[in-house]
Structure formats: C-alpha cells, structure tokens
C-alpha cells in the first residue's frame, strides 16, 4: 500500500516544486442557519516535480486536484485556506512569503491556464494587452520585446494570423483558439511552472486534439514544468511524465504514466482506467418508426442563420438514436425542432403516422406527454425550492390528474426505478449529488410515460464513473419501460455504449446515418473519420499517431 503512495525514484537535483503534507480547509455555511463548519478539502498530500517535467493530477470532481494545483501559487478559491504543510518552490517555502511574495511569484514563476479561456479573458481588453500584462508587470521585458515573444508563441501554438490576432478582443476568437492564446499568455513571462487546469475539457473533441498537441509541443520546446489537471485519464496520458490519482482530497496512487494506465495498483485507479466499457448489443429496427423527422430545415434569427439543413431521421420504438457532432452542428436544434420549441421552416415531424403541429402551442397535451426531455445541467433544470417528490409528482398531476396517495405511490415506484428509494422524497435538489440530480430528472421524464425521451448531453457534466452509472440506468429503464431515446452527445465513447443507430451531424447536416455497426465501421467519410480519430485513447503516443493520420482539419480552427 505504502509503496504506491510515494514516487519510485526521488531525485534531489533539479527539484522545482516540493509540496509536503499539504492540508487545505474551507469554511462552509450549511443552509438552514446551522453553524458554519470547517471541512478539509486536501488531507496531507505531498508531491514533487522536477524542472521541465509534467505531472498529471487526476480525479473526479471534489478530488482536490484544482485546489492542490492552485496551492502552488499560494491561491485559494473562495474561502479556501492552506492550513498546513509546506509548498517549496525554487528552494523557498512560498507560504511564508506573505501577500507580497505571492504577487512576485504569480505570473512570473508560476502561471495558470484556466478551464474556460472564454471566461478567463477579460472581455474589455484586447488579447495582446492581456497576454503581455504579467510580463510587463514583473518587468522582465519591455513592451516591444514582450509582444515579439507573444507573436512567436502564437506561431508556435499554430494560431491563425499570429501577427494580428493580438489586436482582437476575446469574443472575436473561437474557443479552441482562445485556449491556445491563454497558453501563450502563460508562457509569455517565461515561468518555471504552468498549472493547466482542465485546459481542454470545455472544447469539442476535434478541437481538443489540436489544443492538446499545441500544449504538448510548447511544453517540450520551452522546457517549462507543468501540473496538468484533468478528469480525463486518456488526455493526461498524452502529456504527462507522471500521474497522480486523487480522490476526496487524498492521494490514491502516484507513478509513471505507463504504470498508471497499464498496471494500476489501486482498485480505484483500475476503475478509472476501465470506466467506459459498457457492452450494448445493437437492436435491429422494427418495421415502422414511430417518429420520423422529414427533411427538416430550421433557422434562428428570422431565417438568417440556418442551423438545420434538410435533416431526416427515424426513431424506432424502444430503441436509441444517438446524434453526435461538435458544438454548433445542430444537435440540440434538432431536439428543439422535434419538441416544437423551434418551429421548422420546412419539413415535418411525423409521430404515429400523423404530422405533429409545428409549434408547441399547436400540439395537444397528449402529444406533449409523449416527448420528454432531460438536460445536461440537471441542477438548473429543477426548481431549487421544490422537493424531489413535488418535482417527480408534477407530470403525474399534469398529465394524469393523479393526486394524494396514488401520486405518492407512483413517485415512490419511480424513485425505486432510478435506484434512489423513498428516502429522497422530501429532499431538495441542493441536497443531492450531480448524479442523483440527473436521476431525478430521468424519473420526472419517465413519470409522463412518454414514447420518446430526448437526452441532451445528459452525462457530459458528470464524472466518468457517475456518468457510467447513469448510462446503465438508462439502458435498464429502456428494457423495462420500452421507451425510445434520442441521445444527443459529443462523446463517442458514450455513443458506443448506448446507441442502436447513429446520426453524425456536421454544420447542420446529417453526414452519416445508419445502424451503429454500419456507422462505426470503415470506410468512413472525412468528418466521421476525424471525429472517431479525435477521441483520446488510453495509450501512450496516441496523440502523435492521431495527428499524423488526419484527413481534414477541425472546424474549430
């Protein structure tokens, strides 16, 4: 046990960062006026990092990986405090340096790359001003030198128009490009360490691979050390020399990248490595689909922005159609057109042999009941002031007029079906975990006894293990309730686990459509090939191989 928790080799030379017995606490204020209490987020974690090396910090949400990463800059988000241990950076304990010490360290010796560059850039300033800001602040270069350095970095990170991109404002640049500009910003002041905090998590897979490659090259060429924080083991395997697995603020396992992904010693690491494997036998379509989308074209802004172009798909009873594509490909718009939230300009939606009303207001209650939705963000899809019982009971009252004991009995049944049980009936959404919230949303949609549930990125915001549980639940429920799913996702691993047929969307069009076995078998069209080859694989050297084998560039470029 102990041998897995310390690094195999402990070189004393070239040590850049040495965190010893780090303890981080936060004060939480529970709802309902209870006394505030102190919780421990990080329990006595130690780590070392050599100059020019990359350490991946991996774990689910709440594992404390960002908190540890930020502690190397002496920073605590919100009310987070470093209450114990030492953070020795470049030979000195930075925790003893005080505010002044932190300011000299941040942006000079350690820089930070945030998860969402779109939010982390100030919308009011031009990119160049922000990229060189830290360099100028710490006086390590003149403005002209810093800008020259920035342009060189833009080039290295293969940004388009490296000479002029700095004149733009953040909103004028795409998400994948912004993430690379942010990496350039971190590299500009030539720090010794960069903390990458989920830098590719918010990007499409096809964009992620470019950003990942750019970051990897930049790290290699500048010899900067890095803490690479992510929940995606396959991603971290591409860039790290070593990987540290964390859970609930404690160290689980720490070792070389190859050892962690090939020979994990801890059970938890093993679960993370093998997480996506669900065997789902594809079902053949029955004679007639119960819902057909026929040549639907839809647009926003009064017809100006066409987001769906002549889309046709069929959904068969009790089966799953997965719709995949990157952001902006029209996946969610298809769902909006089917439900009547966005009336199509052309084409129609046929349900049980008759054409559904284009608008929501044209559809009778019975039609509304047959099509239910589950969303990506379960916590904003529920009224925070209603209990789980009220939330699940609402469709029972609305569609079936159930009340009192009858309704409560049905709510209890549904809670059992989603494997949560009766004890949750009086709980509020805020008291549930992310996975439990999504389960309640599933129960709410099931309560209407629909023929089709539209699942819009329902597992994207969840940790892999939790997401896996949700997928298994959805598959079981499909067996029991004979409900069909329209499963919208950008994650191909999820698609393999759940789909019977697949529609690949690209820029508003269905570019490939058919049974799962057909869609996922070669020969591929260029876009499907790009999409499939962009999904990170848990193997060392996958990134280089994938980049070499590409036939088209991603739309995010």
């Amino acid at each position: 046990m102990a041998d897995t928790k310390t690094k195999p080799v402990q070189p004393k030379q070239g040590l850049l960062l040495d965190i010893r017995n780090l303890r981080i606490e936060a004060t939480v204020y529970p709802p309902g006026g209870e006394a505030p209490k102190t919780i421990t987020l990080v329990h006595d974690v130690s780590l070392t990092l050599e100059k020019g090396k990359v350490l991946g910090l991996i774990g689910e949400s709440g594992a404390g990986k960002s908190t540890i990463g930020l502690s190397s800059m002496g920073y605590g988000r919100g009310g987070v405090r470093i209450t114990g241990g030492e953070v020795i950076f470049n030979g000195r304990d930075i925790l003893k340096g005080g505010k002044e010490g932190f300011r000299k360290l941040r942006g000079r010796e350690v820089c930070y790359v945030a998860q969402s560059a779109a939010a982390a850039f100030n919308p009011a300033h031009r990119l160049m001003d922000q990229v060189v800001e830290a360099t100028l602040l710490h006086g390590t270069a003149t403005r002209a030198e810093a800008e020259k350095r920035a342009v060189a970095l833009f080039k290295k990170l293969s940004l388009p128009n490296p000479e002029t991109i700095g004149e733009r404002f953040p909103h004028q640049v795409s998400g994948g490009q912004l993430q690379r500009v942010m990496t350039a910003m971190a590299l500009c002041s030539e720090p010794d360490l960069i903390v990458f905090d989920e830098p590719t998590t918010a990007l499409d897979v096809t964009t992620q691979i470019d950003v990942l490659a750019a970051i990897k090259d930049a790290i290699r060429d500048t010899h900067v050390a890095a803490l690479y924080i992510t929940h995606d083991l396959a991603v971290v395997a591409q860039v790290s020399d070593e990987i540290m697995v964390l859970r609930h603020g404690r160290l689980v396992e720490w070792g070389g990248t190859r050892q962690i992904i090939k020979e994990p010693r801890q059970e938890y690491t093993n679960a993370l490595v093998s997480v996506h494997e669900i065997e789902h036998q594809e079902q053949k379509p029955s004679a007639t689909p119960f819902l057909s989308v026929k040549n639907v074209t839809a647009a926003y802004g009064g017809g100006h922005v066409k987001v769906l172009k002549n889309v046709s798909v069929d959904i068969y009873p009790g089966q799953t159609l997965a719709v995949v594509g990157e952001s902006g490909s029209g996946k969610s718009t298809l769902a909006r057109a089917i439900t009547g939230l966005l009336p199509p300009e052309q084409g129609s939606v046929v349900f049980d042999g008759r054409t559904l009303g284009n608008r929501l207001s044209d559809r009778p209650k019975e039609d509304l009941r047959q099509l239910q939705m589950i969303y990506q963000m379960a916590d904003v899809a529920m009224n925070p002031r209603q209990t789980v019982g009220t939330i699940i009971g609402r469709p029972l009252e609305f569609y079936f007029g159930m009340n009192g004991r009858e309704r409560d009995r049905r709510v209890t049944e549904l809670l059992d079906e989603i494997e949560m049980g009766k004890g949750f009936i009086d709980r509020y959404p805020a008291e549930l975990s992310g996975g439990q919230k999504q389960r309640v949303c599933i129960a709410r949609s099931l309560a209407a006894k629909p023929k089709l549930i539209i699942c819009d990125e329902v597992t994207s915001a969840l940790d892999p293990l939790v997401a896996n549980g949700i997928l298994k639940l959805l598959l079981n429920l499909q067996q029991v309730e004979k409900v069909a799913y329209l499963f919208i996702t950008h994650d191909l691993a999820t698609v393999k686990s759940i789909a019977d047929s697949i529609a690949v969307m690209y820029r508003g069009e269905v570019v490939r459509y058919g049974l799962k076995s057909k869609v996922l078998a070669p020969p591929f069209d260029a876009y499907t090939d790009l999409l499939l080859s962009s999904v990170p694989q848990m193997e060392i050297g996958w990134l280089e191989k994938a980049i070499r084998g590409r036939r088209m560039a991603s739309a995010g470029n």
Partner: protein, 319 residues
C-alpha cells in the same frame, strides 16, 4: 465605429425624440384638464362673459385644442416659449439665465460628486466587508438618508452662521467674478453632492462586486496584480454600463430635482423659478419648465444608453 453600433444609437435617439413628443402632449393635456383657462385667470372672478369671450378670441383660446397644441409646439421648436402671465415677460429670456444658473450649480456638484463616488466605490470594494468599507457605506448612506433641506440647514448653520465661511444665501448676478460665483454656490453644491453621493457610490460598489466573481478577475490575481489594480484594470471596465446609468440618473436629479435646495439657498435657478410660478398658477411657465426638465431627463438617459452600448466591446468590435 461600425454600423450596428450607429444603428443602435440612432434608434435610441429616435426613441428619445418620440418620447419627448409624447411628454409634450401629456404636459399640454395636463394643463388643459385643469379647471379654468388663461383668460379666466387673467381677468379674475369679476369678469363678464363678454370680456372673457373677447380675451379668448384674442388669445386664440377658442380654437380646437390640437391646433393650439401644434401652435405651442411650433413656438417651442423655434425657441418661443410664450409669455409669462404673471409678469408679461418673455419666458425664453427669463429661463435662459436661470437654466444657465442651474446648469452651473449642477456642473460643479457633479464635478465633485462623480469622481468622489467612483473612487469611494473602488476603495469600498478593495477593502470589502472591512471597517473601511463599512465606514464609507455608513457615512454615504447617512448623508443620503437625511432630507436635503435638513442637510441644507445644517450647512447654513455651521458654515454661514457659526463660522461665517460661506454665504447662507446664494445670490448670483451678472458681473460677478468666477470666484465670487463659486463662493456663492459652495453650500448648495455641497448639499447636492452629499445627496447624490451614496447612490452612485453604492452602485459602483455593487456593480464591481458583481464582476469580481468572474474568472477573468481570478486570472488577473494569478498574474500577480495588486488587489487595487485588479479592481481598477479588470473589474471596473466591465462594470461601467450600470455605473454610467446611475450617474446619468443622478445628473438628471441635479438639474431637475434641485427645487428644494434652490429654494433653501434662494438660488435663482430653474427650480425656484418653477416653484414661484406654480404658486402663481402661471400655466405657460409651468409648461415650459416641465418640457425642459423632461428634455434634460430624456437626453441624459439616452446618453446613459449610448454609454452602455459604447462600453460593450462586443458591440464596439463585432466579429
């Protein structure tokens, strides 16, 4: 500058003009609804029906209301605000001087109040929830909570009566030197500053605190910027729109809402002029002043809207 922004600004201005026209209708209608008319008012209760009819004919009062409205509007647009009933003087001439006095007072109050409010707001955010923040908020709130006549009399009591630094009555006249004028308006300007300070200060604080939660503020902190520079360079530029809004509202108040302060300090501005003529039931003057106040209010709000549009980089630099 690009076309969407110009389009938005043109829209705001057109809307403002439309609104002003609507207000002019309301003002005109309002004065028509009041019992009695100008002829009645001029001749008094002892007027015979014949003399009333004659005067109405003379003043054009027996024309239909909409004709009189357009007549009045036409006059306003060409700078003719009519004649004051009580004194027989040309309204435009008397208002010109008074409007200038009001603007002079408002200008100096604003020059002090706006930078002071913003600076105090920035400082309050920098030391948020500490004693500095609480002191600033407390004092500013207290000064706003006191009615302005109370503040006015306090100032008069201490600065004019007890210490005799500034005059208690702010008489201004032609030929005064700039310094004399400044001395005369010192007390009313101070009273106005105290009245509008807290509103702007608290809005600045709230607007900045709102953006302090943003990820880009964290980015700035992680670059090693000092706390105050994070606020000034990164938070403030993104909080400008609501701040401009509240500043413009208070500027409007400085011009339109000075009635009480002008009366206390006997300052010959628009407010006092209005109060005088309301008591005399001088309808043409009330109409004219009302319209001017409405125009000031609407234009300052348009400026606030345009300011918010221009402050938004997404509109200023479209994709």
């Amino acid at each position: 500058m690009s076309s969407p922004i110009l389009k938005l600004i043109a829209q705001r201005i057109a809307l403002g003009i439309l609104l002003l026209l609507a207000v002019s209708v309301l003002i005109f209608a309002g004065t028509q609804i009041l019992p009695g008319d100008v002829a009645q008012a001029i001749l008094g209760q002892s007027a015979t029906p014949e003399s009333l009819a004659n005067l109405r004919e003379q003043l054009g009062l027996n024309q239909p209301a909409y004709i009189r409205y357009f007549h009045w509007l036409g006059g306003v647009l060409t700078g003719d605000l009519g004649t004051a009933m009580s004194s027989g003087q040309d309204i435009a001439t008397s208002i010109k001087e008074r409007l200038w006095n009001t603007l002079f007072l408002a200008f100096w109050a604003a020059i002090v109040a706006i930078p002071l409010a913003i600076t105090l707001g920035l400082i309050a955010v920098r030391y948020r929830n500490g004693w500095v923040d609480k002191l600033i908020s407390g004092v500013a709130l207290a000064s706003t909570s006191f009615p302005e006549f109370f503040i006015g009399y306090l100032l008069v009591y201490f600065f004019a009566v007890k210490w005799q630094i500034f005059p208690g009555i702010s008489t201004v006249y032609d030929g005064m030197s700039f310094l004399e004028r400044m001395q005369a308006i010192a007390l009313p300007a101070t009273a106005l500053t105290l009245v509008v300070l807290a509103h702007m200060m608290r809005m600045t604080r709230a607007a900045i605190l709102n953006v302090m939660q943003s990820a880009y503020v964290e980015t700035a902190e992680l670059k090693g910027l000092s706390a105050f520079n994070v606020i000034r360079k990164h938070a403030f530029p993104n909080a400008i729109a609501p701040i401009i809004n509240v500043i413009m509202l208070n500027l409007a108040y400085l011009i339109v809402g000075v009635v009480v302060v002008e009366v206390i300090f006997v300052y010959p501005g628009m407010g006092q002029y209005l109060v005088d003529h309301v008591t005399k039931r001088d309808v043409p003057v009330v109409q004219a002043v009302g319209l001017i106040f409405a125009a000031v209010y609407i234009s300052l709000n348009i400026i606030a809207d345009i300011g918010a549009i221009v402050a938004n980089p997404r509109l200023r630099h479209p994709k």
